[in-house]
């Protein structure tokens, strides 16, 4: 019933679109009071940069017929201007137009997550340049490799990770989350640490609101990836609810045991960790499995956060731990306890499944993370040598909101 599918997909698109202000609040609230606006601009401007690139050549690079049939990257000229899709094919359902819109949001949210690694010290022009290059050179190829199915009938060739390696990744654990997490780490390494001392989050209610909105959007992200109003959609919506919930428990339990106290930021982070974990696995685990995915993702991400502190890298808002590590945990969960009765039909090795899935997932994870790290580092390094990435020390002390954007986030004057 294509029209019914479209009805849900339109709603799912809208849900995902709210993830942008959600992410902006989630990240903005975690920063100190003088670099918030800069973060909001990095997050929201991702839509501007992605929209333009996607219309010009992004859609082609991601969903186009593989260039040379190699499964590496789509032909960048195939869908210039999305002009092909302007005409109604009268399928009654979602057409190229819809998927273009949906995938713009996927690409934009990925680069928006990367922004978190640059909080508080990057020039805004450099960020725009970086994000355009990164989308083109990192996201578009990986998305092609992971998301695009080949169509033997029409001779259309898709991505090699999807079609040759046959990874299982329900809604973007690799191309979106691991990719973003690793890239944020690489960018943070090139940028170096912030000058000023670490800040406490300036507004935790804002963080909770952001997390709640992100969760809401995730139902569209995962549910829309079911491509319709079908059994799969309700399946992944339930598992997403359960994993987010259990993510809270996993994170807060570790906190409680280690620090004696469960925290609000931990609760919000745990929910997101659980959701990251379920993104690749939502269709492969059963309800109890979904709770376990959330529990594991929440707990491991919580542990990963402190490891990071020791490494001394200023991945400011922990994108690597939350999205990188969280994504890996999700994939490992598929490998371990996928339920063969679930829509994906994979048997986890704990339930006697064969080891085939192991190397497929390993290849996918390794390729994604290595490619993302190396390319991101190279792009950031190159930009740093040429246009320079970082603001001056003085600007950093004064804060990017005032120095880069000539604004103050909060003004309390009562005049």
């Amino acid at each position: 019933m294509p029209a019914a599918d479209l009805a849900w997909l339109l709603a799912a698109f809208a849900l995902v679109s709210l993830m942008f202000p959600g992410l902006a609040m989630f990240y903005g609230g975690m920063l100190g009071t003088k670099n918030i606006l800069n973060m909001l601009m990095m997050v929201m401007s991702s839509l501007a940069v992605t929209s333009v690139l996607y219309v010009l050549y992004g859609y082609s690079m991601v969903s186009g017929n593989s260039w040379g049939g190699l499964g590496i990257i789509g032909d960048p000229l195939e869908f210039f201007g999305l002009q092909t899709f302007v005409t109604d094919l009268e399928t009654g359902g979602a057409e190229g137009l819809y998927w273009a819109a949906f995938f713009i949001l996927f690409a934009a949210i990925t680069i928006a997550i990367v922004a978190s690694g640059a909080a508080g010290r990057m020039k805004f022009g450099a960020w725009i340049a970086f994000s355009a290059l990164w989308l083109t050179l990192v996201y578009f190829p990986l998305a092609h490799q992971v998301f695009t199915f080949s169509d033997p009938e029409s001779g259309y060739v898709g991505g090699w990770l999807r079609n040759v390696i046959e990874l299982h990744d329900f809604a973007g654990g690799t191309a979106v989350h691991m990719n973003a997490g690793v890239a944020a780490l690489a960018l943070a390494m090139v940028l170096g640490k912030r000058k000023s001392a670490a800040h406490r989050p300036h507004n935790l209610p804002m963080v909770v609101l952001g997390a709640g909105i992100l969760w809401f959007g995730w139902y569209g992200f995962n549910g829309g990836s079911a491509a319709g109003a079908n059994f799969l959609a309700q399946y992944v919506v339930l598992t997403s609810l359960l994993a987010g919930s259990a993510g809270i428990i996993g994170f807060c339990l570790v906190e409680r045991i280690r620090n004696g106290k469960a925290t609000t930021l931990g609760m919000a982070s745990g929910a997101i960790a659980g959701l990251v974990g379920i993104t690749p696995s939502a269709d492969a685990v059963d309800p109890i499995g979904a709770l376990l995915v959330g529990l594991a993702a929440g707990a491991v991400v919580c542990l990963a956060l402190t490891w990071k502190t020791k490494l001394g890298i200023d991945d400011t808002l922990d994108a690597f731990a939350v999205h990188g590590v969280g994504g890996v945990v999700g994939v490992i969960c598929v490998v371990l306890f996928a339920d063969s009765a679930a829509p994906a039909g994979i048997t986890g090795i704990l339930f006697g499944g064969n080891l085939d899935i192991v190397w497929r997932e390993l290849v996918a994870i390794t390729v994604t993370c290595t490619y993302s790290f190396v390319m991101t580092y190279a792009i950031a390094w190159g930009l740093n040598k040429t246009i320079g990435l970082r603001v001056t020390e003085e600007d950093e002390y004064a804060g990017l909101d005032v120095t880069l954007h000539a604004e103050t986030a909060y003004v309390s004057e009562r005049a």
Partner: protein
């Protein structure tokens, strides 16, 4: 005239205010501040990282009174702010050489 400055626990503000009003102290100014003293800070935890927060929220009261009201005013504040626990705060006095009421231009004791 004297300027009495008191740093007190935030939840004692109402009590101090009432005590001073009862004694016909006609005006005072309140500032939200933070401080440390015998009462050390506390630690907070964000994503596993512990922050030692040196300063605790306090309230600062400034009130200008005539010379002969000064001691009594200090005592009223001390009594009303008292809880007996560490962190109760300090009250101190400094000399005011001149005071003017903006609305009327009155100076000195009548302006207090």
């Amino acid at each position: 005239m004297k300027l009495i400055t008191a740093i007190i626990q935030p939840h004692r503000l109402d009590a101090v205010h009432e005590a001073l009003s009862a004694r016909h102290v006609n005006g005072l100014t309140v500032t939200e501040v933070s401080g440390y003293g015998a009462q050390k800070g506390h630690s907070e935890i964000y994503r596993g990282a512990e922050y030692n927060i040196a300063f605790r929220p306090k309230v600062r009261i400034d009130v200008v009174v005539t010379e002969d009201e000064a001691d009594a005013t200090i005592q009223i504040i001390v009594d009303a702010a008292y809880t007996g626990k560490i962190g109760d705060g300090k009250v101190w006095a400094t000399e005011v050489s001149e005071i003017v009421r903006v609305r009327t231009g009155e100076r000195g004791v009548t302006a207090v």
